[in-house]
């Protein structure tokens, strides 16, 4: 059934179709309508879940952790300062190997206070051991939540995942979304059966102390699991395609990258705009393409390397900035590409922070700049785009 809905409702339907059994959440702009919708579904009896209103995001994640240890499929959603408040327990969730799925509505960190899109909140959770999926459309949000449960709950993964939607651009913008049949989702995603769980009358401790002689072995296992999540995700998406008839492009979606001279790498909703720009430039025979990072963790290193060895220039757009370094996507891609025999010229464009519009015109200017830079590498490989006071005009 197709319905017009916001990204937030797509998240709520994704959790409902996945039959989340425990939902613990704290409201925060612009995530609120996700948990409001889920609370409605629970109170109307459409979703058989325990809804736990908590007093903070830290508690929301702690409640999900406890419920997941008891064998329940759990879901939560947050944004920005809510996500960063969770930071400690995010580490706990992955270390305890709990396949929790959460939506993060990616929003700028304050100050300056902002409620608009920016990836700083998600990027700041890079090292927590969570899988991270950036989405371009509301359909992808819904589909990725269902796929994320299947990937995360597989025995060789058992790690949590965050599904990332851009604040307002996806969270509060309506698009047609196909809602799959519950029966089809049920056969695609069977109920959650963990190997170990807390049971009444049986004392057990999870995540207890280990001495230095055994700590590394547990971290090594998590490393293997994250590695496995890469191939597992590709397989799950193919299976999803067979059942539901659509896919979203693996861990790194490539759009018109064949024979491209310059490729823009970006994540999130801006990729939709960038595809339009690529089409317009291709119509003028300008050889450009787009690579969209869907999974930031596990990072698609092999896919990036395969792409990089075929192009003259890689423009990496980061919607966040790591102070003292560069954009995190850029740093990651540069690290991947280092081992390529033939390396493209690379440049990092910092754009769209705090909800600043990244217009088609700006993206076109980025492509034009990169086409020049690819032939004549300039000094300085990180450029801030569209900042008032800088001499360069982007609009």
């Amino acid at each position: 059934m197709r319905k017009v809905m916001t990204g937030n409702y797509a998240s709520a339907y994704g959790a409902k179709l996945s039959r989340a059994e425990v939902i613990a959440a704290y409201p925060i702009t612009p995530q609120t309508s996700i948990v409001e919708k889920l609370a409605d579904m629970v109170s109307a009896g459409e979703l058989n879940a325990k809804f736990i209103p908590v007093e903070s995001e830290h508690s929301a994640m702690a409640a999900c952790i406890a419920a997941e240890i008891a064998g329940a499929r759990t879901y939560t959603a947050t944004s920005s300062h809510g996500l960063t408040l969770m930071h400690e327990v995010l580490m706990w969730a992955s270390g305890a190997r709990l396949p929790i799925v959460m939506t993060n509505v990616s929003r700028a960190m304050a100050p300056p206070w902002s409620v608009w899109v920016d990836h700083m909140d998600s990027i700041a959770q890079r090292d927590t051991g969570w899988l991270q999926f950036f989405c371009q459309s509301n359909q992808e949000v819904l589909d990725t939540i269902i796929m994320a449960y299947k990937v995360c709950e597989s025995k060789s993964v058992m790690l949590p995942a965050m599904v990332i939607e851009d604040a307002f651009i996806l969270s509060h913008t309506s698009e047609p979304v196909d809602i799959p049949e519950q029966d089809a989702v049920d056969s695609f995603l069977p109920s959650y059966e963990p190997e170990f769980k807390l049971e009444p009358g049986k004392a057990m401790g999870f995540g207890s102390l280990v001495r230095p002689d055994q700590y590394m072995e547990f971290r090594y296992k998590a490393m293997l699991a994250m590695k496995d999540a890469h191939d597992r995700f590709l397989r799950v998406e193919q299976e999803f395609k067979q059942v539901f008839g659509r896919e979203h492009g693996g861990l790194l979606e490539r759009y018109r990258c064949d024979d491209a001279e310059v490729v823009l790498v970006a994540a999130g909703s801006v990729a939709g705009t960038a595809k339009e720009v690529v089409d317009a430039m291709r119509a003028k025979n300008i050889p450009v393409g787009l690579a969209r990072i869907r999974a930031f963790r596990p990072f698609p290193h092999d896919e990036v390397r395969a792409l990089a060895s075929k192009v003259a220039g890689l423009a990496v757009l980061d919607r966040s900035y790591t102070f003292g370094a560069a954009g995190a996507m850029f740093t990651e891609i540069k690290a991947s590409v280092y081992s390529c025999a033939k390396r493209p010229v690379m440049k990092n464009y910092i754009a769209g922070l705090g909800g600043r519009d990244i217009t088609p015109r700006i993206l076109e200017r980025i492509f034009e700049d990169m086409l020049l830079v690819a032939k004549r590498p300039e000094e300085g490989e990180v450029e801030w785009v569209d900042v008032a006071g800088l001499p360069k005009r982007w609009k």
Binding site: G95, A96, R97, M158, E195, F196, K202, A203, M204, G205, F206, G207, S208, L209, V210, D213, Q214, E217, F218, Y220, K221
Partner: protein, 90 residues
């Protein structure tokens, strides 16, 4: 004995409560109760941070398997009937 990563579960899981860890061996000083002087006020029992005091007819008995020897009971006792004694001494 050290286990290989293949032998270990996903996360450290124990099938026993943490009471299997006898933390009393951390202790260097030990509370000794003068049961004659004890007024059965149970303040020591309320203050013990480790639940290592068991009341027998209102009089404290120290569970030395878990008492870490922090001395809070001796400090709080209004009738000064608990004294901390160096381990290894009477």
């Amino acid at each position: 004995m050290t286990k290989t990563y293949q032998e270990l579960p996903l996360t450290p899981i124990s099938d026993a409560p943490s009471t299997i860890n006898l933390t009393g061996y951390w202790r260097v000083i030990r509370p000794v109760v003068d049961k004659e002087k004890c007024k059965r006020c149970t303040i020591c029992w309320k203050f013990c941070p480790d639940g290592s005091i068991v009341l027998v007819d209102g009089v404290p008995e120290i569970d030395l398997n878990y008492c870490k020897g922090c001395g809070i009971c001796a400090h709080e006792c209004p009738s000064k009937c608990i004294t901390m004694v160096q381990e290894g001494q009477e």
